[in-house]
Amino acid sequence: MESALLITQLLNGLQLGILLFLVAAGLTLIFGIMDFVNLAHGSFYMIGAYICGTLVYLLDSFVLAVILAVPLTLVVGYVAERLVARSIYARDHLDHVLATFGLILIFDTGVHLLWGAEGMSIPLPDWLQGQVAFSSTIEVPSYRLAIIAVGLAVALGLFLVVTKTRIGMLIRAGASNRTMVQALGIDIKNLFSLVFAAGAAIAGLAGMMISPITEASIGMGNDIIIVAFVVIIIGGIGSIKGAFIGALIVGMIDTLGRSYLDQLFKLVMSDQNAETAAPAISAMLIYILMAAILAVRPQGLFPPKVR
């Protein structure tokens, strides 16, 4: 019984980690290449979910809806980049934080106007609703496995694009030394539009995949964006590998902390104290981890190599 629970929790942690990675990937590249703090990145996660939800009801097919919603979210990201982000890259981080804070308000209210204040539940097709049995005691919802599979595939694809293609080479070069890339005659602005829009689409994909479980709601992006920032700071700003490992660490620690911290505490304190302290500490765990890593190693675990 105990091991069945552990495996379920490990899979949940993996799923959270993978969703976090999809949001953090764009965030870390945008941050790494243009030194741009984008608080509104979580909005694409929300917008992706709502666009996908609408398409599910229109087309009556979840897979088709996702396939169409990804490029639509890409367009939203591209427009946001051209209209707002592009004009403030050269400003300081304070202006980035404020301007994108304003964008969050605009996106959240825009969704409120278009789709209403209520959350939107998104039905899954029958073939994704079952359970996959690994043994007589271990059963896992097949949709969760699908999320993990799609997420890993996207992570792998992203990794290949970043490490094996010319575009990826430029992205990595931009993250290490933006000025040098420009001096070599690369139009870094177009490169960045591309990264921004692609990052938005991937974050949108994460929102699309989670919303059948949680439903799409206003503010869902604001909850995940802060955790995604924790991820990229732990991983090292600008590093895809750092974002991936950071996301898995955060996903695991958060999930396992919530389910096992009280048992751990019971070893060293009274049951009652453990049950009071555990929920508080487990919610703080990832922030404690981030503060500790920042204090000891401010550049993160896997900072991109400079020079």
Binding site: V97, M290, A295
Partner: protein, 325 residues
């Protein structure tokens, strides 16, 4: 320096704002609009918080994305003693200041080892820890919040439950904090802080331990914010972890930048404009279309964006430019 040099648009606006704020209880009584005294009290309290944030943000270049935590700590320093039926304000206010100063000392000592965006994020992380701590403290209401059924008791004859009296306590606090900040910023200490903002290496080379100076500034800022929180706890009678979320910290930063982070009085303009916009945009929108007011965040976000894109130096910077013209 002659007298006419003092009559600049900025000084006139400052004088007008302070006089109107000072007369608020009288004005609201004469016009029988007690509701506006409520808004004015909120403005004055948040102005204390924003002005203290500005000490490190505007003058020290330290962008703290977690100052709402101090406001929350200050408010709970009123709420929790009252929950245990300790009503003395001589306990609440020192407690609020002491706990926020201690929290600022501990978190500042760690955060100030980092720079730039890492500092923004680590201060956010610490405030999130406090947010989740209070969220899980079910004894004090958890996410349902905590009801404060009494106000802090100070001297006989100074009853904080009287709106006018309380307003004047807040207003005098604001003026006191502004004067204090003015003294600090123009002291030798303040010059070191400002010097470290524009060129830290040079300040270190001159022999100033910039880290320690920054830490002291951070503690002062946190303690004053905690004091604002204690006033807020007395004002609202209901507090919840919601008041320390990262969105609240973002709002505080926006208030400072909107007003102008380069000036002592700037944050006061910022809070004033922010709260008036928050109050009146929905009303104006309802005039155009009934029920449109619920979407007030849309024009509000657009205004925020336009301010960042086109108004450098905030309201205070704008007034300064009027003077130079």
């Amino acid at each position: 320096m002659n007298l006419s040099a003092l009559i600049t648009p900025k000084n006139l606006v400052t004088a007008a704002v302070l006089i109107v704020l000072g007369l608020m209880p009288v004005l609201t009584t004469v016009f029988d609009q007690p509701f506006y005294l409520d808004i004015a009290t909120r403005i004055v309290i948040l102005a204390v918080a924003a002005a203290s944030l500005n000490l490190i943000l505007g003058f020290g270049g330290m962008i703290s994305f977690g100052h709402a935590a101090f406001v929350g700590i200050g408010a709970y320093a009123v709420g929790i003693p009252i929950y245990y039926e300790y009503y003395s304000g001589f306990l609440h206010f020192p407690l609020a200041i002491a706990v926020s100063a201690l929290f600022a000392l501990v978190t500042g000592a760690i955060s100030l080892r980092t720079k730039g965006v890492h500092f923004i994020m680590i201060t956010m992380a610490f405030s999130q820890m406090i947010f989740f701590l209070f969220l899980s403290l079910e004894e004090y209401g958890g996410d349902d919040g905590l009801l404060i059924w009494s106000d802090s008791e100070l001297f006989d004859g100074l009853a904080l439950d009287d709106p006018s009296t309380f307003y004047y306590v807040c207003f005098v606090s604001l003026v006191g904090v502004l004067l204090l900040l003015h003294r600090i910023v123009n002291s030798r200490f303040g010059r070191v802080i400002r010097g470290a903002k524009s060129n830290e290496k040079r300040m270190s080379a001159l022999g100033y331990p910039t880290y320690r100076y920054r830490l002291v500034a951070y503690v002062i800022s946190g303690a004053l914010c905690g004091y604002a929180g204690a006033l807020m706890g007395n004002f609202t009678n209901f507090i919840s972890p919601d008041m320390m979320g990262w969105g609240r910290s973002g709002e505080l930063i926006f208030m400072v930048v909107l007003g102008g982070s380069g000036s002592i009085i700037g944050p006061v303009y910022g809070v004033l404009s922010f709260l008036l916009l928050e109050e009146f945009i929905p009303d104006v929108m309802d005039l155009f279309a009934d029920g449109a007011g619920v979407y007030w965040h849309l024009p509000f976000g657009i205004i925020l964006l336009l301010v960042v894109l086109f108004v450098r130096g905030g309201i205070s910077g704008f007034l300064n430019r009027l003077t130079k013209r």
